[in-house]
C-alpha cells in the first residue's frame, strides 16, 4: 500500500532556530513530491520536486529530494513566528493520484 510518512509529527522551536522536516514515501510509479504550508485554512504550495539532488529554494525555505532513499526534507532557516503552521508533504503518482502525509505541526516560540 502506498504511503507517505512525515516526521516529526510536531515540533516546537525558538525563533531563529533552523528546522528540518522529513518526508519518506513508498509509492508505486512516483512522479513528483510536493510540499505545502497550511496555516488556518487551505494549504498553500511551497515546492514541487521531481529530480533527485536538486535543491529548491525560496527565501529561508529549501527542499531536496532523494529518489534512491525515497525521502525529502524541508529546511527552514532563521525561523520566525510566521512560520508556525502544519507542513504537508504529498506524492503524486504517474496515474495522477496524490497521497498526502499527515503533516508536521511546527510551532515557533518568540
Amino acid at each position: 500500500e502506498d504511503k507517505v510518512v512525515q516526521s516529526p509529527l510536531s515540533l516546537v522551536v525558538h525563533e531563529g532556530d533552523t528546522v528540518t522536516l522529513n518526508c519518506s514515501y513508498e509509492v508505486t510509479n512516483f512522479r513528483s513530491l510536493l510540499w505545502y504550508k497550511q496555516e488556518k485554512k487551505a494549504p498553500t504550495f511551497l515546492f514541487m520536486l521531481t529530480s533527485s539532488g536538486i535543491e529548491k529554494k525560496s527565501g529561508r525555505l529549501s527542499s531536496i529530494l532523494d529518489k534512491k532513499e525515497l525521502f525529502s526534507i524541508l529546511n527552514i532557516t532563521a525561523t520566525q513566528t510566521g512560520d508556525s503552521a502544519v507542513y504537508l508533504c504529498a506524492v503524486i503518482r504517474g496515474d495522477d493520484k496524490i497521497i498526502f502525509g499527515k503533516g508536521t505541526r511546527l510551532h515557533i516560540l518568540p
Binding site: R31, S32, L34, K41, A42, P43, T44, F45, M48, T50, L88, A90, I92, D96, K97, I98, I99, F100, G101, K102, G103
Partner: protein, 115 residues
C-alpha cells in the same frame, strides 16, 4: 471572484440527508480535486477530474458522487450523509501543462458536520 471558491463554507446536516458541496475555479484549469481532512489522517483524496466529463476515484470515494459537466465546476455530493463524513472538505485545481500540472491551488474549505 478570481481563483477557486467553495460553497457553502459551513454546513450542518443530519444523517441520511443529501448534501452537495460546490467548487468553482476561474483559471480554466483542467484538473480538479476533492479532499477531506480529518485529524490523524491528513488530506485524503476523494475524487479527481482530469477534464470535463472525466472523473476518477481517489483514496476514499465511498459515499460520494462527483460530476464535471463544465470545466470550472466540480460539485461533490454526499448522497446519504453519515456521521463519519463530518470533516473539512477542500477542493483544488491544477493546470494541465508541465510543469504546473502538479501545483495544486486549494479552495478555502467547507466544514461539514453531520449530526
Amino acid at each position: 471572484d478570481a481563483g477557486i471558491t467553495q460553497s457553502p463554507r459551513y454546513k450542518i446536516t443530519e444523517t441520511g440527508r443529501q448534501v452537495t458541496l460546490m467548487c468553482h475555479q476561474t483559471w480554466s484549469h483542467s484538473y480538479m480535486f476533492w479532499y477531506r481532512q480529518d485529524l490523524g489522517h491528513g488530506l485524503r483524496l476523494i475524487y479527481y477530474s482530469a477534464a470535463a466529463d472525466i472523473t476518477d476515484k481517489g483514496e476514499v470515494p465511498d459515499g460520494y458522487v462527483v460530476s464535471r459537466s463544465k470545466t470550472e465546476n466540480f460539485p461533490l455530493t454526499l448522497e446519504s450523509a453519515t456521521r463519519s463524513q463530518t470533516s473539512v472538505y477542500f477542493c483544488a485545481s491544477s493546470a494541465n501543462d508541465y510543469p504546473s500540472w502538479n501545483e495544486q491551488f486549494f479552495g478555502p474549505g467547507t466544514r461539514l458536520t453531520v449530526l
